[in-house]
């Protein structure tokens, strides 16, 4: 094992300096210019010079020496992260190296809680991850996690110290679904589920943060919900496609999860096809039900009450639809 950039000198086993030898790398002969007598000199080695090096006696072609050169780097300070996404069961720590070393590394993790050493069980998948079960809850003593990484060229380490509460961060909510609401051009019904990794939502309830915006705008609108796993957006711009995301947090402690997978939805809009059935249901007359948007909707308005107290709302939403479509046509 050698460091990138180092100068490497290989001796041909027990051969004298002035012996006649031939060096090969991965079976290919090496030019004599790299030789100093029988020594092979590699200056400023790079990653591409890793390989199987062999030295043969000049005439007899006896193999005198062989080695596998691995060029790499000693480890830089590893990146360590610990998080409890399954409170109160425990927490996990995961790590990685900021830059590859190109040679094998071993990681050793130690967790100390006050005076007690705890065992962090390594996960099969993903690698570079281990988990700990809480034995005690509501501890005032901090946890100290030390990760040491070692390879043949050196070692490095990093430490994290934290309180039990500080690392609580759930996984994002799952199965986010957004649906239009029939007959409501400004509504979108969003529902989701608790992340499956959160073990006890009844005793450790989650609160949620919903954000949504039409695709065409950059500004998000936010709603914080302390209860329930659904919400109806009531101020959507009619006919515009929306992007919606949800995040979760323990009601009392820790930090917000990452945003969920984004879902797209467009509020319900009247279509000529829809309008035909709508008009037939809601209107007593059936005149001009097959024409464009505007006339039938204004007709509903002109006709006055259609769905009782909902008439005003229908008028208003119809007017908005007209406005929205006219904006599109500008």
């Amino acid at each position: 094992y050698e460091r990138v950039g180092a100068d490497v000198t290989m001796k041909c086993g027990s051969m004298d300096w002035d012996a006649a030898v031939t060096w090969t790398v991965n079976g290919t002969d090496i030019d004599e210019s790299h030789l100093n007598g029988s020594y092979l000199i590699l200056k400023n080695v790079g990653l591409s010079q890793s390989g199987q090096y062999a030295c043969y006696e000049g005439s007899s072609w006896h193999l005198k020496y062989q080695t596998f050169l691995r060029v790499g780097t000693p480890p830089k300070e590893p990146v360590l992260m610990c998080r409890s996404n399954n409170y109160p069961k425990g927490f996990y720590c995961s790590w990685h190296l900021p830059t590859p070393t190109y040679i094998p590394n071993t990681f050793n993790i130690s967790v100390v809680h006050g005076t007690k050493d705890m065992v962090c069980e390594k996960d099969a998948t993903p690698k570079n991850r281990c988990h700990i079960r809480y034995i005690q809850l509501f501890s005032t003593v901090k946890y100290k996690v030390t990760l040491t990484v070692t390879n043949p060229l050196g070692k490095n380490f990093t430490t994290l110290t934290f309180d039990e509460f500080a690392i609580v961060k759930p996984d994002p909510p799952e199965s986010v679904v957004a649906k239009p609401v029939p007959n409501n051009p400004r509504r979108l019904e969003v529902s989701w589920q608790n992340p499956s990794s959160w073990p006890e939502p009844e005793s450790f309830p989650l609160k949620f943060f919903l954000r949504y915006r039409p695709l065409i705008l950059d500004q998000w609108q936010h709603v914080e919900l302390s209860d329930g796993t659904s919400h109806t957006i009531t101020d959507a711009y009619a006919g515009k496609e929306y992007i919606i995301q949800v995040a979760a947090k323990d009601n009392d402690i820790g930090t917000w999860s990452d945003w969920s997978v984004a879902v797209h939805a467009t509020p319900w809009t009247e279509e000529p096809k829809h309008l035909t059935t709508e008009a037939q249901i809601t209107e007593t007359t059936s005149a001009s039900t097959s024409s464009f948007m505007a006339p039938p909707t204004t007709k509903i308005c002109d006709k006055g009450a259609v769905v009782g107290s909902g008439a005003v709302a229908v008028c208003w939403t119809a007017g908005l639809v007209v406005a929205a479509y006219s904006v599109l046509f500008i």
């Binding site: 006050g114 034995i135 809850l137 509501f138 501890s139 005032t140 110290t161 450790f204």
Partner: protein
Amino acid sequence: STGDSWGIFTFLCAALCNLPALPALNCSEELGAGQSIQQTYDLTRYLEHQLRTLAGTYLNYLGPPFNEPDFNPPRLARAERVPSATVDLDLWRGLTDNARLAANYRAYSRLLCYLRVLDGQVGTAELRHRLAHFCASLQGLVLSIGGVMSSLGYPLPAGPAAPPAPPGAPAAPNDFLKKMDDFWLLKELQTWLWRSAKDFNRLKKKVPPAVVTLRLEARGF
């Protein structure tokens, strides 16, 4: 002399500590147990928020290293007098409602006591004001918990205990250890408030429906 000051300390605490022992039966009769639990839960959240500001100010008053964010001292034996929220996970899960409430009641009664002593000793007017306000809110919490216990038919734990330290135990022999005591007091208080939020969440789910409906019927729902 230290003997005199210790005597004053214990007397002070005994006097101050008897205040929260008043049961709040009148309040709880009007509210359903479910509503009281919700209110108690809300109180713990409010107190936790208040404590964050108070602790920040107080730790700055104590000065370094107490106000450093990564200050992580070992827990000295003397700190064991302050009631700790730490509990075995399975044990905590299995607590009966009565035990759960009683643990909270006892802990806050004692913590209140310690805080009141602190209040008497603290230097700046601002801190005294904040501490006094916090103590008042904390007393409200103790009463609220007592109310929940009464409305569920549980007996209140016997008084907020004797003065926190037996007369023989030493008061902090030096300034630094006294500050350590204060540091741990605030830390345990903070942890208790986090724990209580979880305790009351569990209680919210488990309040027997019969009790709630009884109250609702009485109000003509």
